[in-house]
């Protein structure tokens, strides 16, 4: 097996709030191989965004990485000094955020914002490269639009602009955090296909953070499902969507209406996500699980169940 590009081992991130410690990420381990697309699925508060904010070195007080290792291309990232991180971010690892509207600076032209990244990483001829990137993501008349401000772009164009900025230095890893949530399906398809085609062209790895299992099914090689700060199930996309082993994954799949199978009734998951300050000691899905039994109240380890597949459930 090839060396993974990114390897996270037992990562723990907590935020210290007035009422106690919020354990946002609690023992997450995962790997991303070179050229691979890994999907991270989970609902609000599952820890999916915080995990990758930690990879980007973006956890700030009151948040803290309490334990764990993040290795990227042979380097340890936890505790890396600020200057080295700045070198890495944008050049080797890039991230696009959910809301392009608020992630672009409204007071600067888009040209300034993309050229800034290229210049910071010592890319010669930044302007030409900026135009090239904007053309690649499908922004027409890129040369002329360099002088435009974000508000002059539509939502889909702003999202494509973010992708252009993220990819401008040809990163080895792109972390796309809910890249399409705020977009209409038609534009969503455009942005995802853009990311997929650039991934194929540049051979980069992609982490696609989403709550949409349909998006994962279409674009990801492997998927990790997160619930309340932990990965509950991980493996090849087809295996997990085809035959989920964790009751939460089953519940998620059953709760989403499927346009291609409208006769299948939808079944909601009852109850709500647990409070991350006051977590049950055992399985975190226990209070909502239809299959719960007494031994679920004890801590549940992640277990390998077949090739490249892991499940955190006593039933498997």
């Amino acid at each position: 097996m090839t060396e993974p590009l990114l390897e996270i081992t037992d990562l723990r991130v907590a935020f210290h709030a007035r009422h106690g410690k919020v354990r946002a990420v609690d023992g997450v381990s995962l790997t991303v191989a070179p050229g691979e697309c890994l999907g991270i699925v989970g609902e609000s508060g599952s820890g999916k965004s915080v995990t990758f904010a930690a990879v980007m070195g973006l956890i700030r007080p009151p948040g803290r990485i309490e334990a764990g290792r993040i290795r990227f291309a042979g380097r340890d990232l936890v505790g890396l000094d600020a200057a080295s991180y700045r070198q890495l971010r944008g050049r080797d690892i890039a991230m696009t955020l959910q809301d392009a509207q608020t992630s672009l600076n409204p007071a600067l032209t888009v040209g300034t914002q993309i050229i800034e990244v290229l210049a910071a990483h010592g890319e010669g001829n930044a302007r030409a490269r900026a135009v090239e990137m904007m053309t690649m993501v499908g922004i027409p008349a890129a040369e002329r639009r360099l002088g435009d401000y974000p508000h002059q772009f539509s939502g889909g164009m702003r999202q494509r602009m973010m992708v252009a900025i993220a990819l401008s230095c040809r990163p080895k890893l792109l972390i796309a955090d809910e890249p399409t949530t705020a977009l209409d399906v038609t534009i969503q398809a455009q942005v995802l296909e853009l990311i997929a085609s650039i991934r194929a062209k540049l051979g980069m790895s992609v982490v696609l953070i989403t709550h949409d299992l349909g998006v994962v099914a279409d674009y990801c090689d492997r998927v990790a499902v997160m619930y309340a700060g932990q990965i509950v199930e991980a493996g090849r996309t087809a295996d997990i969507i085809g035959s989920p082993r964790h009751p939460y994954t089953e519940g998620l799949l059953a709760s989403v209406p499927d346009l291609h199978n409208l006769d299948r009734p939808i079944r909601p998951i009852e109850g709500q996500v647990p409070d991350l300050i006051d977590l049950p000691p055992g399985c975190r899905f226990l209070p909502r699980c239809p299959k719960a039994r007494p031994d679920c109240a004890k801590p549940v380890p992640m277990r390998a169940v077949g090739e490249g597949r892991n499940v955190r459930c006593v039933l498997t």
């Binding site: 455009q190 949409d212 299992l213 099914a217 279409d218 709760s255 209406p257 346009l259 909601p268």
Partner: protein, 326 residues
């Protein structure tokens, strides 16, 4: 089935805020053409799903038929009454029968009022209940939407998103309306909670005999809840018909593109849309969709397509599809 609501040729133009310079120069504001002659009927007891991209006018439509936004022209008849002709007192009485559930349960509930106060207000405004009877109706409504009696004295911020949407639903239904506009009621919620609210809306519809206009950009949700669907593009209806027929065998190129963009169907053989939604201030002439349509011809660029009735209670507004009309 009889039409509960019949909308004909509904037009809504907004005057956007004008800059100082253009006002000084005396320039006429360019109008946003949010609705451009929409005709639809909603039958008693059905759910009509309305889909389209953001900015297409679907929320404006939901609000215009309730006169939350005054339509520019057209006609809205509800159970035989001309809604647009009602004076304020008569409109208030009519609103008892027509209610709305909003997308964002965080923004649509007054943070300074308890749930009991929020639910009591419509009953008080309409003089429908007071004292013990009012308390009883609030309690019964809470139970109906799956909240506990103890929730009545709490404030909106003490609830999760899904629970807040239940409060929004309770507020809309406490007047016993016949017709409810559900404007993206599950779009702000996590997927596992979405299903809870979809089920709740379906159960309430059965139990209370409601009629819904269900507005959403989520096509799978629309497919799941709707009896019939209408597809809107830039302020016009391009296709209507029974939900399954339209979603599984779409005829209009725009509907086809929408369906094939839905994730989960594989990324191959998509009908791709060219470019972005044009500005509703400056809609294209002819067929409004021609700038993004892969099949557009000169006819589409110059002439507005007629609304053609097809077999099976379907309608398509396209010059070229279906290729062999019945």
């Amino acid at each position: 089935m009889t039409a509960l609501l019949r909308v004909e040729n509904l037009v809504k133009h907004y005057a956007p805020g004008q800059g100082l310079l253009s006002r000084l120069l005396g320039q006429k504001p360019r109008m946003v053409q949010a609705l451009n002659g929409v005709s639809l009927e909603i039958r008693a007891g059905e759910t009509l799903g309305l889909i389209g991209e953001s900015g297409c006018g679907k929320s404006t439509f939901g609000r215009a038929i309730l006169r939350l936004h005054e339509p520019t022209s057209g006609s809205v008849r509800f159970g035989g009454t001309d809604v647009l002709a009602l004076d304020p007192a008569a409109l208030k009485a009519m609103r008892r029968r027509m209610q709305i559930i909003f997308q964002n349960p965080y923004a649509s509930l007054n943070p300074r009022k308890t749930v009991a106060q929020i639910l009591a207000q419509p009953l008080r405004l309409h003089g429908l209940a007071s004292g013990a009877e009012l308390q009883e109706r609030v309690r019964a409504m809470l139970a109906h939407v799956g909240l506990r009696p103890s929730h009545a004295e709490r404030y909106p911020h003490q609830f999760s998103g899904g629970q807040r949407q239940r409060i929004g639903i309770a507020r809309a239904l406490i007047l016993n309306p016949e017709f409810v506009v559900c404007d993206e009621p599950v779009s702000a919620l996590d997927v596992s909670i979405q299903a809870q609210i979809i089920e709740l809306l379906a159960r309430l519809k059965r139990e209370l005999g409601l009629t819904y206009l269900f507005i959403s950009h989520d096509i799978a949700v629309i497919g799941y809840v709707s009896d019939r669907v209408a597809v809107m593009y830039l302020g016009e209806i391009v296709e209507t018909g029974p939900a399954r027929a339209v979603l599984h065998a779409p005829q209009h190129p725009y509907t086809k593109a929408l369906m094939s963009a839905v994730p989960g169907g594989g990324a191959e053989d998509r009908v791709r849309l060219l470019g972005d939604l044009p500005s509703p201030m400056d809609p294209p002439p002819g067929c409004r969709f021609h700038t993004r349509c892969g099949f557009a011809t000169d006819l589409c660029r110059s002439t507005v397509p007629p609304q053609r009735a097809l077999q099976g209670e379907r309608m398509v507004a396209c010059h070229h599809f279906p290729e062999t009309p019945p």
